[in-house]
Structure formats: C-alpha cells, structure tokens
Symmetry: C2
Subunit: 349 residues, 2 copies
Amino acid sequence: MVRTQACLLALCLLMLTSLSFSEVGRDLPLPSWNNTKVKSAIMAFVDKVTQVDGSDFVPPEQRIAVFDNDGTLWAEKPAYFQLLFAMDEVKRLAPEHPEWKTEQPFASILNGDMISLLAEGRAGLEKVIGATHADMTADEFHRTVARWLTSARNPLTGQHYRNMTYQPMLELLNYLRSNGFKIYIVSGGGVDFIRVFSENLYGIPPEQVIGSRLKARYESNNGHPRVVMTDKVEFVNDKQGKPIGISQSIGRRPIFAVGNSDGDLQMLQWVTTGKGPRFGMLIHHTDGKREWAYDRNSRVGRLDKALQAAKPYGWTVVDMAKDWGVIFPPVRPVPPKRKTAHKSELKGR
Amino acid sequence: MVRTQACLLALCLLMLTSLSFSEVGRDLPLPSWNNTKVKSAIMAFVDKVTQVDGSDFVPPEQRIAVFDNDGTLWAEKPAYFQLLFAMDEVKRLAPEHPEWKTEQPFASILNGDMISLLAEGRAGLEKVIGATHADMTADEFHRTVARWLTSARNPLTGQHYRNMTYQPMLELLNYLRSNGFKIYIVSGGGVDFIRVFSENLYGIPPEQVIGSRLKARYESNNGHPRVVMTDKVEFVNDKQGKPIGISQSIGRRPIFAVGNSDGDLQMLQWVTTGKGPRFGMLIHHTDGKREWAYDRNSRVGRLDKALQAAKPYGWTVVDMAKDWGVIFPPVRPVPPKRKTAHKSELKGR
C-alpha cells in the first residue's frame, strides 16, 4: 500500500515535471508577447540555432546578440534619458554656478526650454556634457547617476526611469540568455552612463555595454592613479559607429540584432548580412495609448531609412500595439502625470 | 551483511571524495609552480577573496583579472611575435612588390637585418603595419594570422609560436577561472592579432582581449557592409594606455593584474591601489638556461621602473628560474635551433 502510494507520487511528480517542461518550451518564455508572427519568428530562430544536430546550429560562443538601448530596451521620450539626466544635473549644480543664469545652453535648461536647448546643437550639448560628465572617474560618475536613478522622475509619466524599461524586452533578454546567448548593449548613449544600471535593470554586466565615450585621461595622482573622463567626445557609437564599436569590443560579428531607429541601420545591415543564420529586428513605436506612436518625423528615435530597409533585408518588425501584451513591467504603478504627456511629447519632436 | 558492505562502500567513496577535494585544493592547481612563497601568495589571495563569509570576500562579478601577453603569457624573443609575423608577411608578399627590394623598411626585412629595421622607428613600423595589417576585415586578417600560426617557427627556438606559451601561466589562468575569475588579456600588441589565438591557446574569448588597435572604416559595399582596418594607429594600449583601455572596455577596476615589463607599470599601479583585496604580479625573466634572462637593459620587454615599484606597491615578483618547475608546455619537443638562440637574442637587445 505504501509502495503504491509512493509510485503514484512519483508518477505525479513525473507528470508535473514533463508538464512544466512543455510549458517552459512553449508558453512561458515570452509571456508579454502576443501570439503573433513576431513571437513565432523569434522562437523559430532560437530553436534553429540551438538544435545541436541541425544544419543551422550555432555554437554558444558565437551566439552573440546586440541590443540598442534608448527606444529598444527602455523609453526615450520626451528626450533620451541621458539628456534628461544632464539637464537635472545642471539644475542641481546651478547654485554653484550663478553665471549659468545668462549663459547658454545652461539658461535654456534652467528655464525648461528644450527647444532652445536643442537649437544650440552639438556645441551646446558638449558644454552640458563638460559640466555634468567630465573631470571625474567612472566611479564618481557612477555615484551621481545612481543617486539620480533613485530620485528623478520622467517629466511625461512621473515614473522613475527604471520603471520605463519594456517588459517584453526584459523577457526576450532572459529567453536568449537561457538559450546560451551572450547579450551586449550597443547604444549611441554614453557607455559610462548605461553601465550604471545595465546589470541591475537588464542583467547585462558593464563589460557587455558598448557606447559612445569621452576621451579618458590617466593621472598618476601621487601613487593613487585615476582614470578621469575629459570633456572631449572620443567616439560616437551611432550609425556606422555601431558596427565599428562592435568590431573593436567583441571581435566577432553578432548573429542577432535589435534596434528601433535609423541609428541602428548599419548595425542591422552588418549583422544580418553575415554568413549563416541571422536575425534582425526593429521595434516600431506604434502604441499612442500605452506608450507613444512615432517614426519618420520624430526628432528623438527617428525611424525612417531603417524601416524602409526592413523588407529587403528580411528584418522582423515589432508593432508595439499589436505584438506586445504589456509595455512596461507589470508592477509599475499608474503614471500620475500621463495626461500632459502627449502635448509635451509633440513639442519635443 | 549487505547493509554493512554498502556502508563501507559509502564510507570509502566519502573518503575518496574528500581526499580528491583536498588534493584539488592543495596540490593540483598549479603543478608547474615550485612550492615557493610566490605560489603560496597566489593561493592565499584566491582563498581569501573566494571565502564567502570572510572579510575579504569579492563577489564573482568583480573577480576580474588582467594579463599582459608578450613576455607574460608567451615569450617575446628575439622580438614581439607580432613583429615577427609582420616580417614573415613582408617576405611572403614580396614577390608582388618588387619595389620593396630597395624601399625601407622592407629592404631591411628582406635582408633579415633587424637592427636597421628597428632604426626605422615608428614611421617604419607603421609602413610595415600598413602593408601587412591594413585594408582588410578582421575575418580576412584572422585567416592570414591563423595560417602563419600553423606554419611559422620562431627563429631562436625553431618552435611553432603556439608552443612558446608558459605552462605555469596556463595553469594560473585555469586556476583563476575555476575560482570564478573572468580573465582579460591587456596587451600593447594588436587586438585583432591576439584574438586569433586567445581562445585556442589560453581559453580567453576574443571579446576578453584588449589591445592596441588600428582605426576602422565602415564600408557599405553594395548592401554587404564590411568593417575594414585602415593603416592608422588609433589607440596604443601600453603604459598609461592600459588603465584607459581597461576602463573603456570593462568599466570596472580589476582586482588581479600580471605583467612583465615597464609597459605594465601603470596597469599594476592602478589595479593594486583600488579599494579592497588586490593582487599584482611581475614575471621576471631570470632563466637564461631554459628561456632568457633579461630585465633593465632589454630592448624587448624592458623591466626597470616596474621592478623598482614592486616592493613599495607590494607586488609579487616571479623569479622564473626559481619559481617555475617547467617553462614551456611539457609536450613541447626539444628545440632544434636552441644553440644559436642566445647570440641572436643579445643582438636584439
């Protein structure tokens, strides 16, 4: 009798195990993705390259996936979050700089005038970077950004920035990782900025972040050396800079690339024209209700040429409204300032 | 009776397991290292940082170790092996370039005159790099280097270059890896050159190689994009370039650094002055019988300032003659041209 019960228990456990295996294999991996062609395409690709005896098998060390960050892993409205950080920093540091009240581009920032700020162009941006990113070590900068991340809120949603990652993309990162992929962020944003939160938000360690960077300076500092960031932009990891940045950092061509704007065009072209199985994907922001709808005419995250290239190059295009069941992580509270969002967002285009 | 036998068997298994554990922990890890203070210092450090409840515990993601390559992981006589590669390439390509017979620095190379070649300095070196490293993708360069590695032999030892790695260092890499360390090569040599063999010789994947690099160019190439190396040196990963290169690639300060020359001075200083437990080590080439004995007066791999800094900074110095039981991998056959080695080597100083 006892033996029968034990056998039954074992059988139940076995059934439970096989059930959960089939669930893991079929339904669990990408729960926030609707059951559309896009989800099937992702899973079919991953199945194909991980099938040990298949003709498309790719050994784990070559399963490298690259992801853009702004607009791909987290949102980018009303402007790239790093720019919003720099603006918040200018406000925080303003009491020590009374001259900024009349000096551009600082005056525009202090007056909340983003249009005038953007009109200052690259020269203006470099001044802001110099005042907020330079003359410190990566560790010192890390502390500043980490403090900002726990306190600052996005002006459109009222959310902490860490709540504005995309839930389906977090699931995609996990799904790829569990299938032996090594994942890199390849962003036009500053590498030292993204490294502050990449591990915590995405599970991507700092050494797997490739981005734009400032020229660094080595100081011997009386036997306590420091590597200090200057205010000179040394490398812009955008457009054709992305394949170059990947080549220099990784030394292999990835097989999986995801982006959302024309800044990702060359990365997608380069990744998907390599030999063997390749996967290219564009996130198309089509959801004006749950997020924002924008593409060719957006100043931030413009998607025009890359969208035209999707068909000839065979890239999968995510229609956020249609393909994503959820946009932001489910625990995210209701955004308090959501109503004013669209007006401000339109101004920022 | 059966139960007693089973218990005895279990006991034997248990003893066997604990025995093999203690062997792994005490004697097996670094078999080619003599039982000197150096070996004890390495093992004491690793024990300390991996002790979960100890005050010096370092979580695995921060256990980053950096190793120089030339003179640290493999030999560097009569000259850095990458220079010997470039010279071999000039010879291989010479039939297509009759003008090289009279053009410097190519004429010196074709005449086997290394002194005149070195006298050409950086400008000469850049010409050689342009002729042998530029205008190709990393993949194309990879094929050239891989072919050279299977055929070329070191002029002093008659060995294939892959047989001139240091056995004790291969064991150290394995020992650190098995204790959760992530290992990077940080070399003054070219990153694309080292990436060809780093995985095969050292188990270090290409993305964990940091080195000097040429400026890269992106070519759209009618929809089949390429990232091509130009002949312009963009970054020299030597001396103060090493801490900068590490900062840019890894974004964290390593806790373990090994080098063998003044080119490693700043890397060792920067790594070992960080907060928390740190380990710095210098390989001192003291073995004129089994390898070569050189330091302050050597043109290749000069060790002078870094050796002076070892004591004040608390670095461990490996005396190759004393601390290493074996130099090269044990399967290595007897070098056929060993006799002529020392004369040529002296010329190269």
